[in-house]
């Protein structure tokens, strides 16, 4: 079972790995969608247009600087009224006209102010030539104004267009990402999820003990590799489990055979002794009878010892097979009490039994739990003086379910008012062949196997066993049995009473 747990662990890890891989694939797909060639091309074009516009603006700024410098010179020429200067002004005007196509708004405003000043001066200037020159400059100015306005509108239009395009492109990119994601989810839904589901189902089947179940995932898918690994692992677990089962069977068979071989001669001894002592073969002289009784008592002891040793051997070899069934714990308790009733009577010990109004339904091997109880009860009776009391009772302990991992259980207590257990012996209490007094008081003979067997059997049920004791005042042995916390026997205590 531990091996299976390991495998479940590995599988969980594999699932986790697949999940992270899928996530990474999703992210990659998203990135791919964003970098879709169409989107990239569109963007590149827009970007190059934008760059061109930016370069044009850069050129414009330079041209304006040139123009300003030229106009400053033209102003100087206006001041000096010789013809050479005017000619130079003409040339400059030509240059300015050529550069005018690249003006911008603020420069145009500045120039307008400048030309206003010039126009005023030209009005006061004496010569016709000067007036002409200034008029020319004035025309030039208007021309520049116009050009700039056109330029302005043009670049505004371009900007608007650019913004529109970026918007469109963004929407397209978003759409692509969304589409990609949807496609990814759908592909998960229709391909990976069913495969994973098949794998998980296979794991569950396997856990339930169907070792022949294999994951059926079509080849060529992401999970096919994992499924193959799972199947391989399943195969090796199956082999190992079968080998283990075989070893268990062999061990169990061995114990069976040894048990049978020891019991057969003991049957003859016990049988013939019984017949002789029972008077079947004729009268037995008293002295002979006394000796034969000793033989009979020790034969019985030997038979018990054989049972106990074989039980311990089976428990230690892990070869014990429990036959689990649902039982009312009260039933098990009262049946065990009946079994030791005559012993208690013979030793004049009061034997009482009690359980909660609702008796829990537990899944146990009834014979084995009764064996545990018999061992505890026979000890309690054995180690309690006449007139003392042995009380057996149980409690339902429901887990609070607060995520503490605590499991509901039934606690069974066997309490006595006997001699108690010395504190220094508590540690060895459940160890085999350990007894508190090695110089055995022969009225209380035993082998020291009872508690070791009880512990082994309780632990086979997934429970625990422990004891508390006050030397001289009594002991309380308690064992727990796992319980689902919700199921009760149908018959309630008060119905019985």
């Amino acid at each position: 079972m531990r091996r299976l747990k390991d495998v479940m662990g590995v599988l969980k890890l594999q699932h986790l790995r697949i999940r992270t891989r899928l996530l990474a694939a999703g992210v990659l797909l998203g990135a791919l969608a964003a970098a879709n060639p169409l989107f990239v091309r569109h963007h590149t074009r827009l970007l190059s247009e934008f760059h061109a516009a930016r370069d044009a603006a850069w050129n414009l700024r330079h041209a304006i600087q040139d123009l300003n410098r030229g106009l400053a010179k033209a102003e100087a020429y206006l001041e000096s009224p010789d013809t050479a200067a005017l000619r130079r002004l003409d040339a400059l005007t030509g240059q300015v006209t050529a550069g005018a196509g690249k003006y911008d708004v603020s420069a145009s405003n500045a120039l307008a102010v400048q030309y206003g000043v010039w126009r005023e001066r030209a009005r006061l200037a004496p010569t016709q030539e000067r007036r002409n020159a200034v008029l020319q400059v004035s025309h030039l100015s208007e021309g520049i104004d116009r050009t700039i306005r056109v330029k302005e509108e043009e670049s505004e239009g371009r900007l608007a267009k650019y913004i529109r395009r970026v918007k469109r492109a963004s929407i397209m990119a978003g759409g692509l990402v969304f589409l990609g994601f949807t496609a990814f989810v759908l592909s998960l839904w229709f391909t990976l999820l069913p495969d994973l589901a098949a794998l998980i189902a296979a794991t569950r089947e396997f856990k339930l003990g169907n070792l022949n179940h294999r994951a059926d995932v079509p080849a060529g898918t992401e999970t096919a590799e994992l499924a193959a690994a799972f199947n391989e692992m399943a195969e090796s677990i199956k082999e190992r489990t079968e080998k283990l089962d075989e070893t268990h069977r062999q061990k169990s068979d061995f114990v069976s055979t040894v048990s049978h071989e020891l019991r057969t001669p003991l049957t003859s001894i016990k049988g013939s002794l019984g017949l002789i002592l029972g008077g079947v073969t004729g009268a037995v002289p008293q002295e002979v009878a006394r000796m034969l009784k000793i033989t009979e008592k020790n034969t019985n002891r030997l038979i018990r010892l054989v049972d106990d040793v074989l039980d311990i051997a089976k428990i230690e070899a892990g070869a014990i097979r429990l036959k689990f069934d649902k039982h009312s714990i009260a039933d098990v308790l009262s049946h065990a009490v009946q079994g030791v009733d005559s012993l208690a009577r013979a030793r004049e010990v009061n034997l009482t039994c009690d359980w909660p109004e609702n008796s829990a339904l537990v899944v146990v091997d009834r014979d084995r739990i009764e064996q545990v109880l018999m061992n505890l009860l026979s000890n309690a009776i054995k180690f309690t003086e006449a007139g003392g009391t042995v009380h057996v009772y149980c409690e339902n302990e429901v887990a609070d379910g607060g995520g503490t991992g605590a499991q509901s259980r039934v606690l069974v207590h066997v309490e006595d008012t006997g001699r108690g257990i010395p504190a220094e012996f508590m540690e060895q209490l459940f160890e085999k062949f350990h007894q508190a007094e090695s110089s055995v008081n022969h009225a209380q003979e035993g082998t020291g196997l009872g508690l070791a067997i009880a512990k082994g059997l309780v632990e086979e049920h997934g429970g625990k066993i422990w004891a508390t004791s006050v030397a001289g005042a009594g002991s309380r042995f308690t064992f727990s049995i796992p319980w689902n916390g919700t199921e009760f026997a149908e018959v309630r205590r008060k119905d019985v009473a």
């Binding site: 048990s259 057969t264 003991l266 016990k270 019984g274 017949l275």
Partner: protein
Amino acid sequence: MKILLAEDDENILSIASLALERVGGHAVMTARDGFETLAAAETARPDLVLLDVMMPKLNGFDTCARLKADPRTRDIPVIFLSARAQAHEIQRGMSIGALGYILKPFDPMTLPRQIEEILKTHAAA
């Protein structure tokens, strides 16, 4: 009561017969393996078969199964008397139609009473 006692161990055979005859007052016939048991059950028609498990040729479980499969012997009650004491062995014996499973070593003085009680509980049921 006519009891067919199937047992391969001579010692146990004589002890058990003595107990059944002298203590229980029954008539006892014996068989030493499974096939002898089948033959005796068919011809002598006993009131009860007391069956050991570990016997040569045909073991007790198989013998019981054959007795229960044969319409002529089906109704003869079978009780196992065996040193095979493991829980699953007892379970197997009870699952193939036996009324009871008495463990060896047994107490010869109470063996007849044990048998009576098994038959009584079965008759009541």
